[in-house]
Amino acid sequence: MIEDFLVRALVAGVGVAAVAAPLGCFVVWRRMAYFGATLAHSALLGVALGLVLGFDAMLGVAVSSVAVTLIVVAFQRQVLIGGDTLLGILAHSGLAFGLVALSFLRGVRVDLMAYLFGDVLAVTATEIAWIYGGGVLVLATLAIIWRPLLALTIHEELARAEGVPALRVQIAFMLTLAVAVAIAMKVVGVLLIISLLIIPAAAVRGLSRTPEQMAVLAAAAGALSVVGGLLASLRWDTPSGPSIVVAATVVFALGLAAGTLRRTAQS
C-alpha cells in the first residue's frame, strides 16, 4: 500500500519536472543558467515577503521573480555594469535580504531548510493545485511563444530582421521562468531549483535531433529523476530535495553515456 503523502509528493514532483524540463531546454540553449540561478536565489526574498505580508510563499516567490526579471530587462539598456555582475548582485542580495527579513519574524516558526532545500513529502492538496495551475499556465505560454523564441535562440538578429518581436517574446519567456521557479520551490527548494531546469535538458542533448524531441525527452528525464529520487529518499531516509537532484545527476550521466555510445555506433 502506497502512503498518501508519497502519492502527493510524486504527483507534485512529476508535475514540476514535466514543466521545468522543456523550459530548461531554453535556459540551456540560450545559456541563461545564471539567470535561472538568480531567480532561484532571490526567491528567498519572495518567501520572506509572503510571510511578512501574510500570503502564500509561492505567490511571494512569483512576485520577487517577476521583479528580478523586470530589473534585468531594465538594465539591458546600460553597459557600465555587465549582465553577469548584475545577476550576481541580484542573486546574493535577494538571498541576503530574504534571510535578514526572515530573522525579523520573531514568534513565527519558519522552517528555513524547507524553503532552501524543499519539502515535497509535506506537499498539500492545495499546493498541488497551485503547482498544476501554474504548470498549465507555463506550458501554454511556452507553446504560444515556442516558434518566435526558437527563432530568436537560433539567431537573434535574423529573427528580428524577419519581424519577430524580440523584447516581448523574451520578457514573456523570463516571466514564464519566474512562475516555474515559484512552483518548483516546494519540491526542491530555492537553492536546487535550477537543477530541475538544466540537468534533465542537458542529460538528453546527445539523444536529440530536434528541439522538440529534446524538450519531450527532457520532461521524461525530469520525471524519472523525481520518481527515482523520491523512492531513494524513502528507502534510505535521505532528504527529498537533494535526493531528487542526485537522481537527476545520475540520469544526466546515463544520458551522456547513451548519447556518446550512439554517436560512436553511427560513425
Binding site: 540551456v28 540553449w29 545559456r31 516558434r147 526558437l150 527563432a151 535562440t153 537560433i154 539567431h155 538578429e157 535574423l158 528580428r160 530582421a161 524577419e162 542533448r205 536529440s208 535531433r209 530536434t210 528541439p211 522538440e212 524531441q213 529534446m214
Partner: protein, 260 residues
C-alpha cells in the same frame, strides 16, 4: 557615374542616412537604392560602415538622421554575417527550414534542390560544412519568398570554387525569381564581376555605378589602390571563361572584427 538606362522598380531606398555611435561618425549622408531584379554590391574596407548600413536598411538599427523607405509589404530574406548555430541546440536542416515561416514545410525539398543542397535535409545543422550551411541558410531565406535578398559577406570562409558556384546561384535566383539582391563584401574581385551596380562605401558613398566604371574611377583607386583596380579587371575577365577553380582557399587578410 554611369546612368542606368532602365530604372528598375525600387524595393528599398535609403536617403541621407547618417549614423553616429558615441563620438564616431560611422555613416554620413548615404543614399542608396536597390530595385527589383538588380544585384547591388556594397564594397569598402573593413570598418567602412557596410554592416551598419545593412542593419539600418533592415530596420535593425535606427539612423541618427535620414530615412529608409521600403516598398509596402516588402518581404526580405536575410543572411547575416558570422552566422552559426550553437551546438547546444539540436536541430536538423529540415526542422530549421520548417521554422522559416508558415507554409515553409511543404516547400523544403523543392527549395533545397533549387540551391543544390537536396541531400542535406536529414543532416544535423552543426555537421554541415561552411558552403553547405550557406546554401541551407540561403534556402531558408528563399522559403520566405522574398522580394529582396540581403547577403552580408556571403562568401566568407568558402573556397573559391564554392564562391563561384554560390555567385552563379545568386545570379540564377535573380533571373528566375526576379528578386533584388543586396550584397556586402570586402572581396572585390568575383563579387564585382557578377554584379549590376557597385556602391563603394567608406563612411560615405565614394562612388557608385556599373562595376567597370567604378573600377576605373579615381575614387575607387584611391580607396583600394591601383593594383586592386587592375586586379579587378583580370578577375572579371577570368570569371567569364572559367568556372573550374576548385581547391583554392581564399585567405582573409584581416583579423579585426567589424563593428556590429
Amino acid at each position: 557615374m554611369s546612368a542606368d538606362l532602365a530604372v528598375p522598380e525600387p524595393l528599398i531606398r535609403a536617403s541621407g542616412v547618417d549614423l553616429r555611435l558615441g563620438r564616431t561618425q560611422i555613416l554620413s549622408h548615404v543614399d542608396m537604392t536597390v530595385g527589383r531584379g538588380e544585384i547591388v554590391t556594397l564594397v569598402g574596407p573593413n570598418g567602412a560602415g557596410k554592416s551598419c548600413l545593412v542593419r539600418i536598411i533592415l530596420g535593425l538599427l535606427a539612423p541618427s538622421a535620414g530615412e529608409v523607405w521600403r516598398q509596402p509589404g516588402l518581404r526580405v530574406g536575410y543572411l547575416p554575417q558570422h552566422l552559426s548555430i550553437d551546438p547546444v541546440l539540436p536541430i536538423t536542416v529540415r526542422r530549421l527550414l520548417a521554422l522559416a515561416g508558415p507554409g515553409a514545410a511543404g516547400k523544403i525539398q523543392a527549395v533545397l534542390t533549387e540551391v543544390g543542397a537536396d541531400t542535406l535535409a536529414g543532416r544535423a545543422v552543426q555537421d554541415l560544412s561552411g558552403g553547405e550551411f550557406q546554401r541551407v541558410m540561403l534556402a531558408r531565406a528563399l522559403l520566405r519568398d522574398p522580394d529582396l535578398l540581403v547577403l552580408d559577406e556571403p562568401l566568407r570562409g568558402i573556397d573559391l570554387g564554392g564562391q563561384l558556384a554560390l555567385y552563379d546561384l545568386i545570379g540564377r535566383l535573380r533571373r528566375d525569381r526576379g528578386i533584388g539582391v543586396l550584397m556586402v563584401s570586402h572581396d572585390l574581385h568575383i563579387v564585382m564581376a557578377a554584379t549590376d551596380r557597385v556602391v563603394c562605401l567608406n563612411h560615405h558613398v565614394c562612388c557608385s555605378g556599373a562595376p567597370e566604371a567604378v573600377s576605373r574611377s579615381p575614387e575607387y583607386a584611391a580607396l583600394f589602390g591601383d593594383a586592386a583596380a587592375r586586379q579587378l579587371a583580370v578577375y572579371a575577365h577570368r570569371h567569364d571563361h572559367s568556372h573550374d577553380l576548385h581547391g583554392h582557399v581564399i585567405e582573409h587578410a584581416h583579423t579585426t572584427e567589424e563593428r556590429p
